[in-house]
Every structure is written in C-alpha cells, then in structure tokens.
C-alpha cells in the first residue's frame, strides 16, 4: 500500500455516517506526514507532563477537556509541555466540537510543522468514525483480476483467463438489470476479519469496460447510474473455463470454496462453450446462493429427499416379502 498521509485522510471521499468533516487550520507543511497506525490517542497524560509510553505515532484527539487544560497551561505561562508534545513526530492533532485552539498553540504547531485539523463532530462520535475509516484503510487487501458484479443483491466476482468472455458476460448481466462494481482490477479488502469488500482498484477507471471490437465504454453513461455501484460485499466467486470434455464438472452441487485473505468464499466453476447462456447460469447461481443463505440448500434438500424415498421403497419391499409371517 502507498503511504497514507494526513493529506489523504483530508481528501477521503466519505459520505453520511462516515463523514469526518475535517479541515486544516494550521501546519499545512506537515500534511505530508504519514499515518502509520489505525488508532487514536487522547493526550491527557502528555499534557500533564507524563511522557512515558506516549503513543505519539497515533493521531492525537483534543476534546473539550484537553482544550480546557491547554487554556489553563497558557494562562499559567507553561507552554513548554505543548512544545514537548509537538516535538514528537505526531501525524496530526485533531480538535473536535469545532474548538479553536489558542494562538500560542497555533504558533508552536506551525513551528513544529504539525498539522492541526478541526471537526464539528463530538469527540466520541469522531473517535468511532475515524477508527472505522482507518481500520478500513489499513485492512489487509489484495488486487484480483476479474469482473465484479452485483446480481440480485449478491456480490459476484467473475474470474477466468482473458478471452474467455468475462466482460461480455458482465455486459449481458448489466443489460439484464444487474450492476457493475468494477472491471479488470478489483481491490478486495478483508473488513474486521470476517467479510470481504470489493471495489475498483482505481476510482477513475472502475466503471469503464473494455469490449473487444468496441474499445473502452463508459457503463454509467450508457446504462445509467442504476447500473453501477461503488462497493459490494464479495459473496460468490465464479470461475469461467473453456469447456474441457475430459474434465469432470460438478453435477449435483458440492460445497466448494476458495480462500481469499483468509476468508472462505463459495466457489463455482462454470465451463464455457458456444451456445451456453452463461449470464443466466450466473443469475441462477446468485439466486441459489441467496436461497442457501436463507437456510435452504437445493442440492442437500434434493439429496435427502431421494434418500428418504429410497429408504421408504426399500422398507416397503421388505415388508411385502415378509408378509406371510403375519398369519
């Protein structure tokens, strides 16, 4: 991953419940400082002059309490502790509740080239949001080649060798009313260690597709905003393969899965051959996956029904044979 700087944090495109509402108030030259940890620190102890185990690598959050203490220090003329705090390589200081730090604090920060940011959010809400945002950014991730689509609400990653027809199949799915998340380079993140989120590796190119013979097309412009989405949970991986008559394909439906970033994702291999309507097969796979999540596994249910039927037949045959003994 590239270095994640304070400037990147300011430039993140976050909406609604994720918005951090940050603006930079001082120390602009320090915006290139790197954020290395997805954690925050309240610098209460450091302010009182206790620097043992001071977590200076973290973002420092100043709330009402910290600010009141800063004012008190300044009134008493003890600004050297502020200098000591800011002499550490702190990524940035963030003031919540729209608090304006004092002029003395600004001066010291400018001198130390430490960026000072401000947000209108309350401290607790800001902490929760920034932790969520940072853990997302620092989540383990991987870039996978394929097409990522949403079909009937199920996030499906279509993989396969180039030329097998991934993009054409995705195009047909979009045409049938499903959505494109990204084409070609998909960035998969493991969020909080239990599910995977996928989106385009680059915002600029993610809603474009390359179709052989047509070149680059813009899905948003051609099919409308309803045909795209930015991000989606990955729930199924479909591998497309050239039909190999010697290979044995799944006939009853087994429970195969593939490991991505330590998470098991249901996995199906679909052989491609001229005349096979792959988009419809993928639609059916999506619906079957939804059904499984609702607790109904078609393959298992079918199998157990057949077993029951055979058992009943068997028992009946046995009973008919032994009939004479009932006299």
């Amino acid at each position: 991953m590239d270095k994640f700087t304070v400037l990147d944090l300011l430039q993140l495109d976050l909406k609604e419940h994720d918005a951090l509402n940050l603006k930079c108030m001082a120390g602009r030259t320090g915006l290139v400082r790197e954020i290395t940890l997805p954690e925050i620190d309240r610098p209460g102890l450091a302010l009182s002059g206790f620097f043992e185990n001071f977590a200076f690598q973290r973002i420092q959050v100043f709330g009402r309490g910290e600010n009141a203490y800063l004012k008190k220090l300044e009134n008493e003329g003890q600004t050297d502790t502020i200098g000591r705090i800011l002499s550490h390589e702190i990524p940035c200081c963030i003031f919540t509740f729209n608090i304006n730090p004092t002029q003395a604090f600004f001066r010291i920060a400018e001198k130390a080239k430490c960026p000072i940011l401000q947000t209108d959010l309350p401290s607790s809400e800001f902490s929760a949001r920034v932790m969520r945002v940072l853990s997302n950014i620092f989540a383990p991730n991987q870039t996978i080649h394929g097409v990522f689509v949403e079909v009937f609400g199920v996030g499906i990653l279509i993989k396969g060798d180039s030329g097998v027809g991934k993009s054409e199949i995705a195009l047909e799915l979009i045409e049938r009313g499903h959505r494109l998340v990204a084409d070609d380079a998909i960035n998969i993140r493991c969020v909080s260690g239990n599910y995977l989120l996928g989106k385009g590796a680059s915002v600029v190119i993610s809603h474009h597709m390359e179709i052989r013979g047509l070149g680059i097309i813009n899905i948003t412009h051609l099919f409308g905003v309803g045909a795209i989405r930015d991000e989606k949970k990955l729930e199924l991986v479909v591998q497309l393969e050239e039909w190999d008559s010697k290979k044995v394909y799944d006939r009853i439906g087994s429970e195969e899965s593939i490991d991505i970033l330590g998470i098991k994702v249901p996995f199906v291999i679909i052989p491609v051959k001229p005349g096979r309507n792959i988009p419809i097969i993928i639609e059916t796979a999506a619906m079957n996956e939804r059904l499984k999540r609702m607790g109904y596994d078609s393959a298992k249910e079918f199998s157990s029904n057949v077993m029951n039927w055979l058992e009943t037949k068997s028992a009946r045959a046995y009973f008919l044979e032994e009939k004479h003994t009932f006299k």
């Binding site: 006939r251 009853i252 393959a299 199998s303 057949v306 055979l310 068997s314 045959a317």
Partner: protein, 88 residues
C-alpha cells in the same frame, strides 16, 4: 450391443452421489447407454433419469450399451456396481 444384469449391493441404493458417479463414468464413453428397471428405460448419461429409477438395495437393473467402446463401457459400469459405488 451388449447387455448385462446387475444388482444394487449398497444399502442406500442409487441416491444422488452414486447417480453422479454413474453418470460421470457413463459420459466418458461414446457408446449409447440405456438403463432398464422393470418397465422404465432411461438414458444412463442423464443424472435426473438415473435418480428417478429409484433403484433400491437388492433391486435388479439391466444395462444396455451400444457403440464403438461398448465393451469397455459395460466393464466400467459393472465395476461400479460391484464396488458398491465406493460406499460401505
């Protein structure tokens, strides 16, 4: 054309898994494969057909194979029945 009578030797009969195994074996050969049980006649390369026979323990089936590789095909199929479909 070759014909052969076989008996189901696995207790559970031909349920989904043995049927899949049978069909997988059958599709490896180019010969036409028909399975008969009582009055029913089905294509041995169709999984739903094989399951619908409802072949239970000790019931008898007739395999009818016709084509270029009929000898190998019938041998492979009979072996499956003898091995109780790798069950038990």
């Amino acid at each position: 054309m070759v014909e052969c009578l076989v008996t189901i030797k696995n207790r559970a009969g031909i349920h989904a898994r043995p049927a899949a195994l049978l069909v997988q074996t059958a599709t490896q050969f180019s010969s036409k494969i028909i399975i008969e049980k009582d009055t029913e006649r089905i294509n041995g390369k169709s999984i739903m057909g094989v399951i619908s026979l409802g072949a239970t323990y000790n019931s008898q089936l007739k395999l009818i194979v016709e084509g270029a590789d009929e000898q190998q095909a019938i041998a492979a199929l009979v072996r499956l029945f003898e091995n109780k479909f790798q069950e038990e």
